[in-house]
Amino acid sequence: MTIEVDRAPVHEPRVIGARAPRVEDPKLLTGQGCFVDDIQLPNTLYAAFVRSPHAHALIGHIDASKALQLPGVRAIYTAKELESVLVKLRMPLGFPTTALPQNITPFVLCPKEVCFVGEALAVVVAESRHIAEDAAELIEVTYEPLPMVHDCRQSLEPNAPSVRLESPSNELNHFKVTYGEIDHAFAQAHCVVKASMSTHRGAAHPIEGRGVLADFSGQAELTVWSSTQMSHDLRQMLSELLGLNEDRVRVIAPDVGGGFGCKFLVYPEEIAVAACAKLLARPVKWIEDRSEHFVSSIQEREQFWDMEMALGLDAQILGIRGQMLHDQGAYTPQGINCPYNAATGVTGPYKVGAYHLEVSVVQTNKVPTIPVRGAGYPEAAFVMERLLDLASVQMGIGREHIRAKNLVPKAQMPYEKQIKNRAGAPIILDSGDYLHCQEMVLKHIDFEGFKTRQRQAKDQGRYIGLGFAHGVKGTGRGPFESGTVKVSPAGQVSVYTGALAMGQGLKTALAQICAEQLGVSAADVEVVCGDTRFVTMGLGGFASRQTVTAGSSVHLAAIQVKKKALKVASQILEASEDDLELRDGFVKIKGTDKQLSLGEISRKLRGVPGYALPPGVEAGLEYSEHWQTEVLAYSHSFHACEVEVDVQTGGVKLLRYVASQDSGKLINPMIVEGQLHGGITHGIGNALFEFMGYDEQAQPFTTTFADYLLPTATELPEFEILFHESPSPFNPLGVKGVGESGTVPVVATIFSAIDDALKDWKIHLKHAPLSPVKLLEEVLFQGVSP
């Protein structure tokens, strides 16, 4: 016997603020999801890429003769062959800017000089993936190895080899973020703390890797399904590189099995597969396998920071200065938003008198870098919070006090910081009550009683610690996102948006926002996203932006649709608009049973030839909005955790994890919690598990899930989430994003707790991730490897 469930179990009404079960779920739960590899077109061919085994080499001769003889192989292409259908071989820069040099993006297929292990230089297309991979193994490539740069700290040394021969310098970009009188701040400091810190390379690893299916039907129209976070950008680049009219290119993001940043890019493989489809006049599919993800999907987080903080007698932060080195990898496919975010994000929720950071963005012979979940903010929070903990010890002031002293107070919000964003406008912390959240969490985790617990544990030979940290995340990045709300003559309510779903419940959230205005059930709202056919413009899912941007557009559009419906209904029902209400898909005269369905109103607005439309309105019960924004809505997180450290093995156990989250008005608290669970887990990965290792030949050596560790269920405590809502004054819904927020303060929180557990050893952890080996080094050898 089963439960016949057509609707979700009822919790609360499906409107804004409700913990509404998601509209996405039933299909996914029954295995009826449609991910890119689930799409099966007749006559499809399958691609496999030949990837460089060298970190840096010149391609000599490519001999595909044996491979071509394998039955089932349809074609093998290198850069030379693809050039016949490509306008150019080089990918356009993702975020166009004149601030970066030319010739820094990857090639669709590498023509001459491979610059990282994993770079694709040829593609095999065959009747099956098995055959394509068999053939790829038979292709003989001669290489002339070149010296390589395996570590970004090497990149700027005087005799460092060139990462790419075409690149005049290994330094891609150098910039400064600065304000205030920094020298003065340090000159008059009562206390100066210094630390050299680092975070390490890791990857996004959604459980569904990348994938693309390209179909040139009739050679005139290109349809591409891609597991992407940016369908409009992909359409634009396909059009540009294949010389096609954009109207003839349709990109569809089907169900996407997670993104976390790595699908927020147009990749060479997507263009190459489309080119193959054009050349072979058959659909071509490529599905990334996990080993490819390790060597060709973007990575992030490798940064080295040498920092100093100057504090006054009363623990006021007078200034922060230092240098940061950012590992960009071999190419720059998108821009340098990640180091920029990190550089401008350090001061976070705090007031800092002066700031001076020199940033060097350098190239290495490793996989290219763009943001992974957090996009530089986790690194920034890590640096700031570690400095504060150090200062707390040096000044003999409690960690909670030194933070309380310097947090931007609620009364001063919106607070204009002296740091400018990349458009040149100041960073404004729009709303929040950081101190209250700190107090709320510390109370919840019983920080006051912890000293006793810690002492009792020590009596038993156990080392426990409690740590905490703040983090803010700029969300809702503009300039806009599209939103269209439409009611069909049949009464179907639809939302179309350029925003994109990758598991975060976007459809449910937008359905709730729309349903709130139109008085229908969220389950009855059809949300179409990620398909370029339905909306002409869109930017996609990244930077925790879509609730703010798409949400606002949908909200405003729904309001307009509601207004129109009421206006038309008031004419037809001959009632004043004040006497009308919108409920359950009907406009009703309050207190009577006279009503008109939204479908009927839509039919009226569809028009009948020869008859006039209702006076004063335009055709169609629909409205499109591209709500614009130049500012970010800053979400705030304060995390605290208790850990136990095993001083003999270096093992760390998370005993308890409490997190406050302020993302303004919450559309669906259940979904927000889910985002936090995932974000925190990713942060725990960054703190204790995820290490993407490269050796001295820039060869990756952690290329399976046995070596590159993601947190599993047995390593995590139950997360306790506490909400605080400070609506943002900068958007009509008062919402803020949350997708990445959970990740931001985690490493700092955990390191703070471990330092506390090992306070007898007086350690101060500075490098993430922390492995048991490194921790045991701290305990036994003061951090120096024996």
Binding site: P21, L29, F35
Partner: protein
């Protein structure tokens, strides 16, 4: 490995007996997805760690990327499609829906299969026991938090509704023969 011999296999798939000709090199996950057109089972890593490909073979949850299609000859295989009712959701699926136990949904079918086996073996699992089973799955979205809650809720519902428990989450109409593990002789 260029030529891969073909073999005809006969097996039970979600309660139905079917015959298929398969290449001997074809793994079970690819076979189910491409030849049987059941795309609910997903491939995440191909090296037996992520668990996205988990299906039931002879009543036990296994990684289908680590089995060959030929190995299920004469066996009973159940995929996520086989633990889903003809319409609506099973108790376990409905609990996931209520507790927000999934986000992108890619790891979910495999997780449902593992938890189905758990609930067959243990009608009152503790959160620790659930996490132990989940440790064989990688999820990048949920942090596993709500998956544990969903499983606890499902177990509770099944205990409270004994006649539901008889079906052990396999909907009516599917005849699944669960072969017990070997006991001591």
């Amino acid at each position: 490995m260029n030529s891969s011999p073909l073999k005809t296999i006969s097996f039970q798939l979600n309660g139905k007996t079917i015959q298929e000709e398969v290449q001997s090199r074809l793994n079970l996950a690819d076979f189910l997805r491409q030849q049987c057109h059941l795309t609910g089972t997903h491939v995440g890593c191909e090296h037996g760690v992520c668990g996205a490909c988990t299906v039931m073979v002879e009543g036990r949850a296994v990684r289908s990327c680590l089995m060959l299609a030929v190995q299920v000859d004469q066996k009973a295989v159940v995929t996520v499609e086989g633990i889903s009712p003809a319409s609506g959701l099973s108790v376990l699926q409905e609990s996931f829906w209520a507790e927000h136990g999934l986000q992108c949904g890619f790891c979910t079918p495999g997780v449902l299969i593992s938890l189905t086996q758990l609930l067959i073996d243990n009608s009152s699992p503790s959160p620790e026991e659930i996490r132990d089973v989940l440790s064989g799955h990688l999820c990048r979205c949920t942090g596993y938090q709500n998956i544990v809650k969903a499983c606890m809720l499902a177990a509770k519902r099944l205990r409270e509704t004994p006649d539901l428990a008889q079906s052990i989450l396999i909907p009516q109409g599917h005849k699944l023969t669960v072969i017990e593990g070997h006991h001591d002789h």
